[in-house]
Every structure is written in structure tokens, then in C-alpha cells.
């Protein structure tokens, strides 16, 4: 044996970076057992009639039939769709506009940035409670405006079934846009000064530079932000609990709350599992094609 000279005997692909691979075994196991295993377990038990305790008595699609016949679930899905679309659009737009304004080399940028980011440091429960008070007609915005003289002013989204989801949206945006702004700002700072100079020399107006040049260049940042916002939307739960606990009536229910309530309050695990499986399916329908385009199908972008 003259020893393994580099290139002569190609080492087994599986043995490359062996140390790193061994080191990652615990994490791989955790991921497989906890995430994949837990998910599979949930899906299997969603076809049973488990009540308080899980048991393997299969009932086919009964739980799903009941789920899709339940008015509360349908309301939850609608709410999630409205809340999801609007919060996605608004937090991206507001976050980007704030970041662009912040990027104009203004004074006290640090202070502003801190103020904008502060809400993000609060938990959803605290955010929810703060906005519950602000939107309460007896103590909050409505009463302040009325005390200033506009006595017919009415602003009570949390007590109006038709618009309650927007009340929750306001709180979510207040909490979340600061983070989006920071991510965007980081992206903007990553753009080369020379590009701005070149655009200026060519006489391209500033808004056009942003839309046509800067935003396409920030693709990576946008995708990161999108994933963060989207995952926040699907799991929205505590904000609703703190602000309205699903009310008035069932007008502001969301899927995650349905899952929790039916698993634990109604002691009907099967129903809760069916609902959470539906949530997983929804997410998968959105994520899988996107991930395929983004990561699969060859590397189109450099």
C-alpha cells in the first residue's frame, strides 16, 4: 500500500466528511423521530375515533367528514385565508417601505429602528392584550376620539363579527412589520453603492430603481421573509386567544385554535388530529411546488 493518494482511489461518497456526518446523527434522529414520526402518528390516529386517550379503532374518513361539515372549521379556514393574504401583502409592503425610508441616511436611524422593532420583542399574548384594550370601545381608541369631540365616532372591530379578523390583523401587523423592516433593511444594505450611482447616472427615477433593480436583486431576502411570515400565519393562535378568544361567537376562530379546542377541551383527539392533518396538507400544497421550483429542477440561477 502506497497509501491513499488524492484522486487515485476515489473514497466512498458516504464516508466523506465522516466526522461531520457522525456529529449530525443525533439531529437527524431527532428530526426523523420527532417530526416525521410525530406527523405520521398524528395522521394515522386521525382515522380513529380516539377521544381523550389515543386508541386504534379505525373509523375511516368519519373525522374528516365531520370536520368539513363543521361551520366553525369553515369559518376558521376563511379567516386564515383573509388574515393570511392580507398580512402577507401588508407586512411585506409596509416593511419594505419603512426599510426604504430608513435607508435614506436619515438622522437617528438607530432610534427609529429600535422603536419599530420593539413590538417584535413582545409575545403574542402581550400584543393581543394590548390591542384588546386599545380596541375596546369603552377604554380604547374609540373613547379617546369621542372624548375629543367626535361623539359619533365608532371603532370597535373586536366586537363586530364582520370585521373582527381585521382587528386581529392590525395587532399582527403592528407586531410583525418591525422584523420584516429589519430583514429588508439588511437586504438593502447589501446592495452595492455602485448600482445606485449607475442608476442615477442613467437618470432612472428612484422608485423605478427600487422596483426594477433593487427588489429583483433582493430575491433571497424576500424569500426568507416570506417563509418567516407564512409560518407565522399558519400557526396564528395565541394572538386570537388573547384578543377575542375566537369571538364574537365563532367569528375570529382560526384552524390552530380548532385543533387545540377539540383535542383538549372537547377531549376528542381524533377530530383534533384530522384538523391538524388538514393544516399540514394545506401547507404542503403551498410549500411542495414552491420548494420544487426553488431547489429542485436544476440550478437555473447563479
Amino acid at each position: 500500500m502506497t497509501g491513499l493518494t488524492r484522486g487515485s482511489a476515489r473514497p466512498n461518497q458516504w464516508l466523506r466528511n465522516l466526522n461531520a456526518k457522525i456529529a449530525s446523527i443525533p439531529m437527524i434522529l431527532t428530526a426523523v423521530v420527532i417530526f416525521v414520526g410525530g406527523t405520521a402518528w398524528t395522521v394515522v390516529y386521525s382515522f380513529t375515533n380516539s377521544k381523550l386517550l389515543p386508541r386504534l379503532a379505525f373509523v375511516g374518513f368519519d373525522q374528516y367528514e365531520r370536520l368539513w361539515a363543521a361551520p366553525r372549521w369553515l369559518v376558521s379556514i376563511q379567516n386564515l385565508a383573509v388574515f393570511g393574504c392580507l398580512s402577507l401583502v401588508f407586512s411585506l409592503v409596509i416593511g419594505f417601505v419603512l426599510a426604504a425610508l430608513m435607508d435614506q441616511k436619515i438622522r437617528f436611524e438607530n432610534t427609529f429602528r429600535t422603536i419599530m422593532l420593539y413590538p417584535f420583542a413582545l409575545s403574542f399574548i402581550v400584543t393581543g392584550l394590548v390591542w384588546q384594550w386599545l380596541l375596546n370601545p369603552q377604554y380604547g381608541i374609540q373613547s379617546i376620539v369621542r372624548s375629543l369631540g367626535w361623539t359619533t365616532f365608532s371603532f370597535d372591530p373586536l366586537y363586530n363579527s364582520n370585521i373582527v379578523i381585521y382587528g386581529i390583523l392590525i395587532a399582527a401587523l403592528w407586531q410583525g412589520t418591525g422584523l420584516v423592516m429589519c430583514l429588508m433593511l439588511a437586504g438593502l444594505r447589501g446592495i452595492d453603492e455602485d448600482i445606485w450611482k449607475a442608476a442615477r447616472v442613467d437618470g432612472i427615477p428612484m422608485w423605478k430603481t427600487y422596483v426594477m433593480i433593487i427588489i429583483p436583486m433582493m430575491r433571497g431576502v424576500f424569500i426568507t421573509t416570506l417563509v418567516i411570515i407564512a409560518s407565522g400565519i399558519v400557526k396564528v393562535y395565541d394572538l386570537v386567544v388573547a384578543q377575542t378568544s375566537g369571538g364574537p361567537g365563532i367569528a375570529s376562530e382560526v384552524p390552530a385554535k380548532y385543533v387545540y379546542d377539540y383535542m383538549f377541551q372537547a377531549q376528542n383527539l381524533g377530530q383534533g388530529f384530522a384538523a391538524s392533518t388538514m393544516m399540514l396538507v394545506t401547507v404542503a400544497i403551498i410549500i411542495v411546488p414552491w420548494a420544487y421550483l426553488e431547489f429542485g429542477g436544476g440550478r437555473k440561477r447563479g
Binding site: N136, S161, G249, A266, Q267
Partner: protein
């Protein structure tokens, strides 16, 4: 996560020597956190401490809906408390079937619970396959209408004597800027109010047909349609309540901001704490003044199976303490509920409690819906009625149809 676990483990080892030195500590979890409730549970703690043991209070705020999942996950997760409150009936049924709860039959026979607990349906609800698994502590009945005398005075109308008079008085109350009927936003409140209307308007027989025999034809029939008509009135009268918790709604009645509230007799503890007197400051109408029937649901303590022998012994002491006549009187006076023993003297009881005791003595009782329906059906009912009370465009007919479906699917 790991750090927290470590801290918990350290904490546990540090606490151990103290526990061994003094009498046995028992952690008792419950969801009695409003003013009147906390005062009542302090009586239980006092009585148990007097036996030389120590009551470690594990109050969980946020009413039963929040507390029960926490309790259940602790029991099923292998970290049981020594005793825990449930509404007796079907809430703990599966825990018992899974063998996680302790059989109390021995103590019950020794202390003759079968003789002293009245009405006997209370103990029946604790009994699963011939064994007794819980110690009932009080009887709570839902079927009460609490009225604020001050509110009616302000509106210039007589304090109503029954539901129909109350509905008739509603416009006058509204004119005076008073919400006629306070219904808090928590879902169980709307569902509970409906059950009360059901027994008051459709009567005991129909109530039992629907909830005990799950007869969907009756549930869809004309008698129950009347109940939905009344619920429609209640919905109109509750407009503008804008509070969540039941005790906030009760507080509206106490302060005269609302005319009345349909709530169980636990509301009475709040009136007492506010220094109000039955008959003078507030009026109570059992069975809404129409049908004087009360349900005999209530609270009970369940004892998870523990390995620690000393703790198991202390559990027995606690179980027998809870049913002692003195404890029963002290606790129930503060709580505003009725004692589970027929042989205790409640001379100190106020007007409303006496009305309740009278009805109990006459035997005009029904089982509560917690005892008759599974938690699952109860939750579906809550969803339906919280939607119905909030959404004025939902017709009583639609609601009744959905109600009949829930009853048909109930087990």
C-alpha cells in the same frame, strides 16, 4: 429546554428534605379563582391543614376549559397532582377507564357516603363499573336568573317574577341605557343559558328526552322550537354586553349596568363578596321563575393513583375531610352552592340558597348536561350557541336544525 429540566430536577431534590420533615404535602389543582371561589377554596385548605397535613394550592386561572387540559395532560403525562377538581360526570371518565384514577370505594363505604350524599345521583356520577372514583363537594345548579333590583328601579319597572315578565321589561331597561341580559363572551355561558331556557320553557320531561335519551325528533320538534324562540329573545336582550368572563358579566348585574344574568349559583359568591343581600339588592329566580327545577351537577375531587404511600394515605384523609359536615357548611356558604349532604344544618344560608334547598328537598332535580353529554358534544353545543348569540343573522330555525344534528350524533 434542557436547562429548565435541570432546574426542575434541582428544585425537586431541594424540596424533598422539607417535604419529608413536615406533614404530607398534597397538591390540589382546581379552577376556582374568582373572588368568591377563592374564599371558598381557602375553607377547604383550612380544614385539610387542620388534620396535620398541608394543602398545596394549585389554582389554574381561566375557568374549566383552560384548566382541564392542563390537569389531564399532567395526569396522562405521568406527573399527577394528589387531587384535582373536575365537574363530576363524564369529564374524567376515560382517565378512570385507563386506570389513572384511584378507587375510593373503601373510604366511601367506611364513611357511609351512600347514605349521606343526597341526592344519590351525585354519587352515581362518581361511580364507574360499581366503584366510586370521586368525592363530590357541592351541588351547583345552573337554573338561576339573577336580577339587579337597582337596575329595574332606575328603569322604573317592577322587578320581574319570571322570564316572560323579564322579556317584557327589556325595552324599558334598554331605554334607561341598561343591557337587559348580560351574557359573557366565553362560549360555555351561551350554551349554559340555553340549557337553562330549555328546562324552564320545555320542561323537565323534554329536557331529559333530548339530553338523556338523545331523542333527535324531540330536539327538532315544536317544543324545542319554543326554546329557540326564547333564546332569540335572550340574544336580542344580550346585545351590548361586551365582556368575556362570567364574573365580569355578574359584575354588570351587581353594579346595575345590566338587568340580569342567567348563570349558575356560583354567581352568588360574587354578590356576597360585593356585600349585596339577597332579596334586597338582588333577586334570584330559580328555573327562571317558570319551572322550579334545578340541576345537580357540581364539582368533585378526583384522586390520581400515586405511588408514594404516605401521599396515598393523605389522599384518604383529604377525601374524608371534604365530606365532613363542618367543611361542607363552611365551603358551601362561601361558594354559594348547596352541600352534598342532606344532614347538615344551613341556618346561615341566605334566601336564595334556601330556595335552592327547598327545591332539592322536593326532589325537583335533573342531571346536569355535564353528566349527560360527553365533552365533545358539549363543545359542539358551545360552538353553536356562541355563534348563535353573536351572529344576529342566524335564524332560530337554522340553529335548531344544527342543534338536532348535534343531539343525533351524541353518544
Amino acid at each position: 429546554m434542557k436547562l429548565r429540566f435541570l432546574a426542575a430536577a434541582l428544585g425537586a431534590t431541594a424540596a424533598l428534605p422539607f417535604g419529608a420533615a413536615s406533614a404530607t404535602d398534597l397538591e390540589v389543582t382546581h379552577w376556582w379563582t374568582s373572588g368568591g371561589e377563592a374564599a371558598a377554596v381557602a375553607e377547604l385548605a383550612k380544614a385539610f391543614d387542620a388534620t396535620g397535613n398541608k394543602w398545596v394550592d394549585g389554582a389554574i386561572a381561566g375557568s374549566g376549559g383552560t384548566a382541564r387540559p392542563i390537569m389531564i395532560s399532567r395526569i396522562t403525562g405521568g406527573d399527577p397532582m394528589a387531587a384535582t377538581q373536575f365537574n363530576h360526570g363524564r369529564q374524567a371518565e376515560e382517565l378512570v377507564q385507563a386506570g389513572l384514577m384511584r378507587d375510593l370505594t373503601d373510604i366511601a363505604t367506611k364513611e357511609n357516603w351512600k347514605e349521606v350524599v343526597k341526592p344519590s345521583s351525585l354519587l352515581d356520577s362518581c361511580t364507574i363499573e360499581g366503584k366510586i372514583y370521586c368525592a363530590p363537594v357541592n351541588i351547583h345548579s345552573w337554573q338561576w336568573l339573577w336580577l339587579s333590583n337597582a337596575a329595574f328601579k332606575q328603569a322604573g319597572v317592577e322587578v320581574p317574577k319570571n322570564w316572560d315578565e323579564f322579556v317584557a321589561a327589556a325595552p324599558a331597561l334598554e331605554k334607561a341605557g341598561i343591557v337587559p341580559l348580560a351574557v359573557g363572551g366565553q362560549p360555555w355561558q351561551a350554551a349554559g343559558a340555553f340549557d337553562v331556557l330549555m328546562v324552564a320553557i320545555a320542561g323537565k320531561e323534554n329536557f331529559e328526552k333530548v339530553f338523556a335519551q338523545k331523542d333527535e325528533e324531540v330536539a327538532a320538534g315544536p317544543e324545542i322550537a319554543k326554546v329557540f324562540k326564547a333564546a332569540d329573545d335572550a340574544r336580542r336582550m344580550s346585545k351590548g354586553t361586551n365582556v368575556q368572563d362570567w364574573n365580569q358579566a355578574t359584575n354588570m348585574v351587581i353594579t346595575g349596568k345590566a338587568g340580569g344574568q342567567i348563570m349558575g349559583d356560583w354567581a352568588q359568591g360574587e354578590f356576597q363578596l360585593a356585600g349585596q343581600k339577597a332579596g334586597v339588592d338582588y333577586t334570584c329566580l330559580p328555573g327562571l321563575g317558570v319551572n322550579e327545577v334545578i340541576s345537580t351537577g357540581g364539582d368533585a375531587f378526583y384522586f390520581p393513583l400515586l405511588e408514594d404511600e404516605e401521599k396515598s394515605k393523605a389522599q384518604e384523609v383529604l377525601a374524608s375531610t371534604l365530606l365532613k359536615p363542618e367543611t361542607q357548611v363552611a365551603f358551601n356558604l362561601k361558594k354559594g352552592s348547596l352541600p352534598v349532604r342532606g344532614d347538615v344544618d344551613l341556618a346561615a344560608a341566605n334566601d336564595c340558597m334556601k330556595k335552592g334547598l327547598d327545591i332539592l328537598a322536593k326532589g325537583n332535580v335533573i342531571q346536569g348536561t355535564d353528566q349527560l353529554l360527553s365533552a365533545d358534544s358539549q363543545k359542539q353545543k358551545e360552538d353553536l350557541f356562541s355563534e348563535f348569540f353573536a351572529n344576529h343573522s342566524m335564524t332560530p330555525e337554522d340553529a335548531q336544525k344544527r342543534f338536532a344534528d348535534i343531539i343525533a350524533a351524541a353518544d
